[in-house]
Symmetry: C2
Subunit: 320 residues, 2 copies
């Protein structure tokens, strides 16, 4: 938003020294697509790759915020610096977030070693905000040992989170997450760790069994070493089972490091990021073409049946 | 799929003469991204623009299939040739549709003037299938007077349907669609006609009032003529209120024609289509770059922190 010049190296320095205000300012710069964005990204690059990025997803009502809160407390006990990105769904038309900041996170609101940020999910494609990967880079470079990305909602954002996280935790609750439902929602493929929260409720063991069964059906053991996603039980509101989940998270990290999977995932993530930035730039150029009436004129011809959209696209491509 | 040569002009001829098999084959060609796709699109172009494209959307359980069925019966009584595209949600990973064809549509399965097709929604971006606009072109060119696009599910596909339809019908049910919920889901902005189905249930009038109130709040009367979306009641399973909806559909079409809105919408739709085909081609070229290791090499540099994704994207753009 602000066009006044930003001292990017000083901000990055302050963020790395542990200033929450500097971290917040850097995230705002990337969220607002500030003119300084490219300079910020270049300055962060040498300091990236330290944080373990953990995605947390699941349907509404399974206890994502409570679980995130409990995990943050656990990581803090281990002396780790923690970042939390809570990605809020928003109306595709309003452009703003409908939810405010997480009140349940207030346990950690005064801890200087915990950075919490709610992000809107913008853009008509929905799902995770396009600036989420960049905010992750800020928290990573600021020295977070762990960054939790909590996605609210279901569907698209669950799929996208896999592209951003080193480790994806899928939360379920008894009765909500039977195997077939999970398979339909496509979440079996994305979880590195499955957690059945609210496990003091009826049906928790059945849900665990169900998910284990569905995972075993989808087992793609093609010779190479495979991570077998554990299915665990928690009562996050009472911190039950949280230590075991923390152990599973460390176990997954160690396994990925040992098998080269961490590097593979991060390279894939970088490739996706490069691709999406490239497409965004190209789309902006097409926006220019649209303003310059090239696309509009061709659209007129397509609308009246004089030409077809493929031939029109070829014309645009020859200009780009 | 099939690589054997296709006699496109003969197929288009047969489709226009009313052969359901030819229509089905053309849709399969566009769904499968056949090598003949471009030839098909070019052959269809001169015959497009006749059909009134009607989108039907709403949350699960409001009675979309039943309503579509009732509307089809109504249009048939008017002697119109009708196309139905039912877009199914599918696992983002499986690539196939989880739901089969609509059983409730079987009322019309033997009517040669009704073409019914279920389409999978593919691609990791979810929502409507990328081939939906092309299947619409097939049904339009095949002489359908009306094409109903029914989207199953909520969220993304509701937004996308607006881009494809001339008229968008939003279905609600008593108690499910109170105004605030509708506003949150962003559906108030997309409906040209609102229908509260299952209106024999308690709360139907309250839902109608709620939606009317929310629409009046969002009224963007900026001088120019505005369509005021009617809010109607139906019991689709008993064909109650369907004639009134058919009248509202005709009324909306007449209004759009009179105010130039039909032409505007169709030109915008053509522009979107050109843009998305252009982006798809560019994305395929990036896929080539990826296979050719350009993006992979850059991703390695980003993953290790030697460069940042924006600088890497600039390098890709200089190659494209």
């Amino acid at each position: 938003m602000s066009r006044r010049s930003v001292d990017v190296p000083a901000l990055v320095e302050a963020a790395r020294a542990g200033s929450p205000r500097a971290v917040a300012r850097l995230i705002s710069l990337v969220e607002d697509a500030s003119p300084a964005l490219r300079e910020v990204m270049a300055a962060l690059a040498p300091h990236s790759g330290h944080a373990h990025i953990i995605g947390i997803t699941g349907s509404p009502g399974v206890g994502k915020s409570t679980s995130t809160n409990a995990l943050v407390a656990g990581f803090r006990r281990q002396g780790k610096r923690v970042g939390v990105l809570a990605v809020d769904p928003s109306s595709p038309f309003s452009g703003g977030a409908l939810l405010g900041d997480r009140v349940r996170m207030q346990d950690h609101a005064l801890d200087p070693e915990v950075y919490i940020r709610s992000m809107a999910s913008r853009g008509h494609l929905g799902g995770l905000s396009w600036s989420t990967p960049q905010a992750l880079r800020v928290l990573d470079a600021a020295g977070c040992d762990v960054v939790l990305v909590e996605t609210v909602g279901v569907g698209q954002s669950e799929v996208e989170i896999v592209g951003m996280a080193d480790t994806t935790i899928v939360l379920l609750a008894p009765g909500m997450g039977d195997g077939i439902q999970a398979a339909k929602a496509g979440i079996l493929e994305i979880g590195d760790i499955f957690v059945v929260n609210k496990a003091d409720r009826d049906g928790a063991d059945a849900t665990v069994r169900d998910i284990r069964h569905m995972i075993s059906l989808g087992d793609r053991s093609g010779g190479e070493a495979q991570w077998r996603p554990p299915v665990m039980k928690t009562v996050a509101a009472e911190f039950q089972g949280i230590d075991e989940v923390l152990e599973a998270i460390d176990g997954h990290y160690a396994w990925m490091t040992e098998h080269g999977e961490l590097h593979r995932r991060r390279r894939r993530r970088a490739a996706d990021e490069i691709e999406s930035i490239t497409l965004a730039v190209l789309r902006a150029r097409m926006g220019d073409l649209r303003a310059g009436h090239n696309i509009e004129d061709l659209a007129e011809l397509v609308a009246e049946g004089t030409t077809d959209p493929y031939t029109a696209a070829d014309k645009i491509l020859s200009v780009l």
